[in-house]
């Protein structure tokens, strides 16, 4: 039984169709790697899926959407703003509570940036910023992850570690990425996008990097 059934997804930009119409199903436990050359419509598709799923999905957009003036802690804490009362959130802005500090610190440790907890987001490097956006998405504790190139600025071992962490924290995930080997290593299913259409949809175990290369 499919957990999510997407039918007739379309998107247009300036009157020009950039996505679809395309349909596919996502099953619980699917970790989908979304591949395809840039401009194929991966980012647009991630947005479309987020609009459909909203409450069920945590999103890591390509631009990350961090609040530069706030410290890392608050950027991560924003993932759970809906779980607390307005006054609790207001107090946290000035003086975070111990249990939240602890929870966020554990996440940052897993991402190897615990020392950055109180640094303003504006002061971080590209790779550190990506990890903060990922921490925020994990902290949100949604069942589904939607991420658009979340590890593009991370080096090899760190990228592996973060991908493993994402599959551990989310039961279902759809991640757009350009690194084919990483996609094959960490995803259970590969969807290839070409000219706004699904050109490839197969379990990761059944395809090789060469199959994906035809998309580019």
């Amino acid at each position: 039984m499919a957990e999510f059934d997407f039918q007739g997804l379309t998107a247009s930009f300036n009157g020009e169709r950039v996505i679809g119409p395309l349909s596919f199903q996502v099953h619980r436990g699917d970790h989908i790697g979304l591949v395809g050359k840039s401009g194929a419509g991966k980012s647009t598709l991630i947005r479309l899926l987020y609009d459909r799923l909203e409450a069920k999905a945590a999103l890591v957009p390509q631009a990350l959407g961090l609040v530069n003036a706030l410290p890392v802690f608050h950027n991560v804490f924003m993932g759970q703003l809906d779980r607390h009362s307005a006054w609790y959130n207001a107090v946290t802005l000035v003086r975070p509570f111990r249990k939240d500090r602890e929870a966020v610190r554990l996440l940052l440790e897993e991402l190897a940036i615990p020392e950055k907890q109180w640094a303003p987001a504006a002061s971080l490097s590209g790779g550190q910023r990506q990890r903060v956006a990922i921490a925020r998405a994990v902290y949100r504790q949604a069942p589904v992850l939607l991420a658009d190139e979340p590890i593009s600025a991370l080096d090899g071992p760190m990228a592996q570690q973060v991908m493993a962490m994402l599959t551990k924290h989310f039961s279902t995930s759809i991640v757009a990425m350009h690194d084919v080997d990483l996609a094959l290593a960490h995803c259970t299913r590969i969807i290839g996008i070409q000219n706004g259409q699904i050109a490839l949809d197969a379990p990761a175990s059944e395809i090789a990097a060469a199959d994906i290369a035809t998309l580019y």
């Binding site: 909203e54 409450a55 999103l59 957009p61 631009a63 959407g65 961090l66 609040v67 530069n68 003036a69 706030l70 608050h74 924003m78 993932g79 759970q80 703003l81 809906d82 779980r83 607390h84 009362s85 307005a86 959130n89 207001a90 802005l93 925020r136 949100r140 949604a142």
Partner: protein, 488 residues
Amino acid sequence: MLAYPTVRTSFLFLAIALAGLLVADIAITTSNPWQDLGRFFLGVATPNFFSTEGLFTALLRTVAFAFVGVTLGSICGFLLALIYRFLPVRIFCAFIRAIHELFWALIFLQFFGFHPLTGVLAIAIPYAGIFAKVYSEILEQADPEPARLLPPGTHAFAAFLYARIPDCWAQLRTYTAYRLECGLRSSAILGFVGLPTLGFYLEASFSQGQYSDAGAMLILFYVLIATIPLWVRPRLLPAYVVAAPFFLGEGLPIVWGNVKRFFTEDIIPSPIRKGEGLAELSGWMSDLMINEALPGIWNTVVLTQIALVATGILSLLAFPLISNHFGGPVRRTSGHIFLVIARSTPEYILAYILLQLWGPSMLPAVVALALHNGGIIGHLIGRQTNTLQLRPDAPTGFARYSWELVPRVYHSFLAFLFYRWEIIMRETAILGILGIYTLGFYVDSAIQNIRFDRAMVLILITALLNIGIDALGRHIRRKLALQTMPTC
């Protein structure tokens, strides 16, 4: 050259100003203007800081009124900014900021009298209108992405606190600090209508010819403004805000009967008050329009247009003074000092001084407005030229000025100038209180004659004129594709 819309617009405004000069009353009427000016500068050079103990009290009151007024204005302005998208709110804010602080003070004086509330509200009300507009513009520029990523169901207040405010915080703070400086100037000139701030003592020393006392006050005022970064610290700010209300002075108690009378009798047009019917009312209105409003509007517009072009010319002449594309550090330092003095002196004080020295005509007003506004724009443009990189073999001297720099900064120069158009008009109207025949003159005379009904109509007309010029300025800026942040 004339193919450029910016150049055509400039020449059009130049022509209007020259035509204005033909009809304007510009003359030096005092018998010995240069000798008076000399005595004044001698006074500034030999300041007497200890003539009256009132001087330091006046300084304290000036700061206190500025802090209370700006704090109140920024809180109300912030709340208004949150609902600024509603048209009635925008119209309300445009209206309250179109009326100058001194006009508000004149209105409140009639029913609150010399109570501190008069000075506080005179600053807080127009500032709330300005804060509302600028804060809402700043808040609009915040990156919308973080708010979109929040979990659905997040309380709107928490979303605002986390995803909106931090992104704008630095800008909100910079603008509020800038407004505090403006508030100090506003507070100082409130003394000219009788509140216990610097203007009051300045007027008193001038009228008695004590130029050394006046010089001491001006110097203290410059020091106060120039040292703002030293004494206005984020940590000290709460202490200032809490303490300021206690240093406003006692003033005189409010007579609530006056308040009631003002609203139920004084400001009702007299034919209605006396029950004389519509025919009388239209006679009253046309008399007011023909004898006061129209001459006032005419003089205000003529003076504004001349002052606007004079401001433009002065800014273009002044910006090389602080530009590091010319001359050495000594000249630049003196250029900085000149521009700091020009822009920190409120136009009203400049006009008052020049009027004392040269006698009543439009000339002191034009010079005062051009000096103050030209100082501000010259400073901003000069700073902008310092960010420009010229090729190593670029020409020097006048060729560098006219071929390399002016063409590069002309767009932002015009943007600042048209932004200040409405401000210049608001100031022009208010300078009438000093005896120049602009709208403020007729407002002030109506108040002197205890005809508040006429004064209110004239203030209303002034506000509408300002709103009109503001809209026209924005239209021209849009048409010429001129953009500027509202921090000048």
